[in-house]
Symmetry: C2
Subunit: 334 residues, 2 copies
């Protein structure tokens, strides 16, 4: 039997939580690279909360994955065959290669990475989408000053854990919001946040106020919904809110109510700014350099939640992101 | 009978719409200026939507007016007696003098104005809080580029009408949102906006989309609530939303639901920024210079809704702002 490609395609637009039936997973012939292209044998696939948004129809920062189209995904692997001058067989590469075993790339957005410096998972994990997102969202939009308080939601997550650690490196106080005592423990003990508040414990407002005696200067938002509403009145004058994700709304089929406390944005002269990492594409190297430097100094810790199971486990693994089933950056080995 | 001061004091915190009973209005002795102070005989008082917020308890950009305290208000008048080196008897001045007939000032935030250039009402009207607010909110936060589309809510109001006119001066397309056909007529015919949509006509989303065929780049927000929710999905990538006021919420005793369409802020990478003119205090002269220049060139039109009635008419005149009873900048003659 000849080796085949294995491809995850979008079968229909999900309603609510992603289900297995939203995808088809099937064997297909291994594709051949054309002029100026190369083929990657994918070793691991990055699972990111943004994926749920990519599956929806309608205007977004990137076109939706088409019905029948290969599911969009960051992935890492090895170049097998190349007709591209900058990518050679044996190169380890990352890029938006899709949820499949073999991908063709023209090199756009693809990077050759050094697996002597960090394992391949880290290049689509800590140093990949999550690290880059945390870096630009916090440094460029949050702009924390020494001694300020940075709060981040989904703090045990891939982006959140990086945000707090980078905040500490910048001399700020880092406070996380996470769901459940185990996640909170990871946030303070492993990632070194100054405090972490469990939103599931039922008194987020009071506990967050106690954990932030000088108020909140930067709120890095991954979640939205009630958590945002609770944070808004605690913001200090001229606070900044990088709006990175709205996990709470991704799987909702009806729009969720927005923040009642919008007045806080006016009264406290807050800046709420949405962003996506693609906007910073010309500065990826800056982020990678800083992240690798801090990691080399032992100042950044990563937790990769690497799942086995191969391509066929893609839907169930993806679902973990929206049910709180993972701790740290979720990666699927192919 | 000796001449007395007449003073509006806050009797209690209003619930919902402002009522007469929220104030006490009484005669008091005329105050005498101390060292470094001067006394103003007030000629007219500026009525501004922000006043409703100043009456509420709780954290805001300025401390709340205390119960029993003189109602905070911008006003204009003439210096009568002065122990201040920079203010001389006969000077026409504006400042945060309060809702009363005679005020003492130490000169902070007070400006001597030239009534040969514009009548006193204009210095607390078009050139005062509304003009300054429109100027900094649009120029600094909205940053409209030539050919972009600027939408402003409460477009027939004092701030809104200036925003659209300044947008046109900057080479942008100006679209207003106002309540009722008469206000919309004023917005397009008198203030020269390119279009104005009547939110009371029941199809704001559809009509606004039709009036903004290239989408919305800057939304100058005075209202909040459902109008903001309707505008959000029409915003273009990297759009800016200066958050100037939330009139719809000022008189609400319960928090109103926030925007369901917050996801648009993320997806379109919008910047929502709250501001108040006090933040730009060191640049008031820049705004006054620009506004006076444009007015001198005939490029800015003002509509002052100057009410007679004196100090005792303060509560009922203020109420007009929240019931849509005025067109243009509301000023009360003392």
């Amino acid at each position: 039997m000849t080796e085949q490609n294995r491809v995850v395609r979008l079968a229909r637009r999900p309603v609510g939580l992603v289900s297995n039936d939203d995808f088809t997973i099937a064997d297909e012939p291994i594709p051949e690279p054309g002029e100026g292209e190369f083929r990657v044998r994918i070793a691991c696939i990055s699972l990111d909360p943004a994926m749920r948004g990519w599956m929806n129809a309608g205007k977004s920062y990137a076109p939706p994955v088409s019905i029948g189209g290969i599911m969009r995904a960051f992935a890492a692997g090895e170049v097998e065959v190349s007709n591209h001058p900058l990518f050679k067989p044996g190169d380890k590469v990352t890029g938006l290669f899709g949820a499949q075993k073999y991908a063709i790339s023209d090199g756009q957005g693809a990077l050759v990475v050094d697996t002597d410096k960090a394992p391949l998972e880290r290049w689509i994990g800590g140093f990949g989408m999550p690290g880059t997102t945390a870096y630009f969202g916090l440094i460029d939009i949050g702009r924390p000053k020494k001694g300020e308080t940075v709060v981040v939601s989904a703090a045990a997550g891939a982006v959140g854990s990086m945000v707090g650690q980078i905040a500490k490196i910048q001399g700020a106080r880092a406070v996380g919001i996470a769901g459940g005592p185990e996640k909170c423990r990871v946030v303070t003990e492993e990632y070194g946040f100054d405090a972490c508040v469990d939103y599931k414990a039922g008194n987020l407002g009071g506990e967050l106020a106690a954990a932030c005696p000088d108020g909140i200067d930067v709120y890095f938002e991954n979640v939205g919904g009630e958590i945002l509403d609770t944070v808004l009145p605690l913001m200090n004058t001229f606070g900044r809110i990088p709006l990175c994700g709205l996990i709470s709304a991704y799987s909702a089929s009806e729009p969720l109510p927005g923040p009642k406390n919008l007045r806080s944005v006016l009264v406290n002269r807050l800046t709420v700014r949405g962003f996506v990492i693609f906007d910073f594409a010309d500065r990826y190297e800056e982020a990678a350099t800083a992240l690798a430097m801090w990691a080399g100094e032992g100042r950044l810790k990563f937790r990769e939640d690497v799942r086995e199971g191969g391509i066929d486990a893609f839907p169930e693994t993806l679902r973990l992101l929206y049910t709180g089933g993972n701790v740290g950056k979720l990666v699927l080995k192919v």
